[in-house]
């Protein structure tokens, strides 16, 4: 029952959004739906017996962590969207609002599905509904960004489908029928055909990795995040990527169950480190601060892949990093959007002195940078430190050393751009714009930063238990 509500309510609201004629009132549909979603999810979290509807629809601890962070992300973004769309009221927001709501419904389906085919369909749906979000500004550059997003994204999706089919085929052994149900695949683990499983894992890693934005399949990301409105960037970087990561963890679970954990770990660690390195390289000298955030997202997807690859002692921190990354990315993308609007530019050649012009958004952007690069006392520090610790304690010294080095490169590269944006004087010849920090756009941004801070200082016991359960689930110990 709850599963259907969480999935269908936003989808129904999306249909309603298409029917509402008023451009001014339509965005106000977002906050109540998002709040209902968060409350309903809270009920499911509090009462475990609601978390299983059928064999196909189960909200396991990993799904709970991912969906909870997306639900909070979406709730705060929904308030911000109301403010943003008021600011852009010359343009019809019909499709924008409908696609945002549809996204929430589909990503809930991703989190609930314990059937890899269903999961794939839902992820394909999220790609499709996020394309109009990127295209919202209707400029030449946003067409280019959307085209690349769809082309690269759909190839990724096609490869993920082939990988899903390969996985089903690997279960056709000893006269058994092929299956895509997660529980069946986990139960048959050791008897899965190794060859097909290997091929399948590579395809799933490439396919869902494209959606996450792991290098070298990340090419759509800087373009899409650079051209999309800030709030869309927050939802893509904190929501879509977490959903794709969840899909990847399912493949990882199956590999572990079939005794091929070492194979998947090697690949994940390699892809993870490679993504962090590529992101660091492109962040050095990056003048466009929204593209810089996109590379930061590539980096953090790399950290997730690395943490999953290390496994064992790093898993708790990896699951935590899903949450801390989405919250910090929320703060960063929303404040970057505010700065972009106030300066009518996202290039550090024209943008400087953001703290003087927008004291709140500018400061949040600076604090968000410190948080995302792993400075204490913010949440990402705890999760990144945990992954590093896990790497050392499981004997991956080379990986740990490289990880530390790349983090340093990222810190320096990102720091230069962020300091240029926030510090200094506002250029004198810069035209005034109508944007000022107002409650609807500044408060959610601040709330994201506060959550990221609180996660670094204190994680409540039930949340800690949930994270530990999710980490145990990844190794099939639950």
């Amino acid at each position: 029952m709850m599963a259907y509500l969480l999935i269908l309510l936003p989808l129904a609201a999306a249909a309603l959004a298409l029917a509402i004629p008023s451009n001014r009132l339509r965005p106000w549909l977002l906050p109540p739906i998002a709040a209902t979603h968060t409350v309903l999810l809270g009920i499911v979290l509090a009462r475990p017996e609601l978390a299983k509807v059928s064999e196909e629809l189960v909200l396991d601890p990993m799904g709970k962590v991912v969906l909870a962070s997306i639900s909070v992300l979406f709730l705060l973004c929904s308030f911000y969207s109301v403010g943003y769309l008021k600011y852009r009221d010359e343009r019809s927001n019909r499709v924008f609002v409908a696609c945002l709501l549809a996204f929430l419904g589909l990503i809930s389906l991703v989190a609930w599905s314990h059937h890899l085919g269903l999961m794939w369909v839902a992820i394909e749906g999220t790609t499709l509904v996020s394309a109009p979000l990127i295209y919202f500004k209707h400029s030449k550059l946003s067409i280019e960004a959307t085209w690349k997003y769809l082309l690269v994204g759909s190839v990724g999706i096609a490869l993920a489908l082939l990988g899903t089919f390969f996985l089903a085929y690997s279960s056709m052994r000893n006269g058994m029928e092929a299956t895509l149900a997660l529980s069946d695949l986990l139960a048959r683990g050791p008897s899965l055909s190794k060859r097909w499983l290997h091929a399948s894992f590579i395809l799933l890693l490439v396919g869902y990795g494209t959606k996450m934005g792991l290098a070298p399949m990340h090419t759509w990301k800087p373009d899409a995040y650079g051209e999309a409105p800030g709030v869309v960037g927050a939802i893509l970087a904190g929501g879509v990527t977490s959903g794709a990561f969840l899909a990847l963890t399912r493949a990882y679970q199956i590999c572990v169950a079939s005794g091929e954990g070492a194979f998947s770990s090697r690949l994940l660690m390699f892809m993870g480190l490679f993504s962090i390195a590529v992101a660091g390289l492109f962040m050095i000298g990056q003048k466009d601060f929204k593209r810089m955030l996109a590379y930061s997202s590539v980096e953090h997807m790399g950290i997730l892949a690395l943490g999953l690859g290390i496994g064992g002692p790093a898993l708790f921190a990896t699951v935590l990093h899903v949450v801390t990354n989405s919250m910090t990315k929320g703060a960063l993308f929303l404040s970057a959007g505010n700065i972009h609007r106030s300066f009518a530019s996202k290039n550090t050649d024209t943008v400087s002195g953001a703290i003087r012009r927008l004291p709140l958004s500018g400061s949040i952007f600076l604090a968000g940078f410190l948080a995302i690069t792993g400075s204490p006392p913010f949440g990402p520090f705890i999760s990144e430190f945990g992954i590093l610790n896990g790497a050392f304690s499981s004997g991956h010294f080379l990986a740990a050393g490289l990880f530390l080095f790349f983090l340093l490169v990222v810190f320096i590269g990102m720091g230069r751009t962020v300091l240029k944006v926030t510090q200094g004087e506002v250029p004198e010849n810069l035209a005034e714009t109508s944007y000022k920090d107002d409650f609807l756009m500044a408060a959610p941004t601040l709330a994201f930063l506060l959550i990221a801070l609180i996660l670094g200082l204190y994680i409540p016991e039930p949340a800690r238990q949930l994270l530990a359960d999710a980490a145990a689930l990844l190794e099939n110990r639950l």
Binding site: K140, E144, A145, I157, A158, L162, F165, A178, L180, Q286
Partner: protein
């Protein structure tokens, strides 16, 4: 039965190579459409008697892959007023050779990979993998938006062929593949034909190169 099936799959393989060497986009649309019709017949030949999933798989493929999508593509082609793929990143001859090599490799590995005796006797796995490879080659080496979409359709044809191995156990696999088709048609209609063409007065994806480092 199995001989007819393998004969059809060989036709699919030949069409793959033919596409690689063709520069007229209209011809490529026709070949990919015909390929869709040929692979639409395959599910009817896979078993001794007809089953509902295989009939659905067959009808869906023939309608979508050989009628609906080619028509959308031809319309898009007419609107865009282009005829040929002029400068692919890899020449036509080298790409045929590459495609032939991909086909040979998939034929070599697929026999060892089959999970049941029945599958080992057919060319299904080999054809599926080769078609995916060649679709990928077209997708990555052509510069016109329409050609790239055609490469993508071919890649999907390969995935469809593979899904036929699973259709009895998991009836919905074919429908999942069809969603991909739908996905691509929506994005052809909405993006390429309307927006890229209007904004840039051409469909050359090399115009889409302002966003870079």
């Amino acid at each position: 039965m199995i001989h007819v099936l393998n004969a059809l799959l060989v036709i699919v393989l030949v069409m793959n190579l033919f596409t690689l060497g063709t520069s007229r986009i209209l011809s490529v649309i026709r070949i990919v459409g015909t390929q869709g019709a040929v692979i639409g017949i395959i599910p009817l030949l896979m078993h001794e008697h007809l089953t509902i999933p295989s009939v659905v798989a067959s009808a869906a493929a023939i309608i979508l892959k050989s009628i609906v999508i080619p028509n959308i593509m031809v319309k898009a082609l007419r609107d865009a007023e282009i005829k040929r793929e002029i400068e692919p990143l890899i020449g036509f001859l080298p790409s045929i050779l590459l495609g032939a090599a991909a086909t040979a490799v998939s034929l070599l590995i697929s026999n060892r990979m089959a999970m049941t005796e029945a599958h080992a006797a057919t060319l299904i796995i080999a054809t599926a993998i080769a078609t995916v490879f060649i679709g990928f080659i077209i997708l990555t080496t052509r510069v016109k938006a329409l050609s790239q979409v055609l490469g993508y359709l071919m890649l999907e044809n390969g995935i469809y062929i593979f899904s036929l191995l699973l259709v009895e156990a998991i009836p919905l696999v074919v429908e999942m593949g069809m969603l991909l088709d739908l996905f691509v048609s929506i994005f052809v209609i909405s993006i390429i034909t309307n927006h890229i063409n209007q904004a840039f007065a051409s469909m050359d994806t090399r115009n889409l190169s302002s966003l870079k480092e």
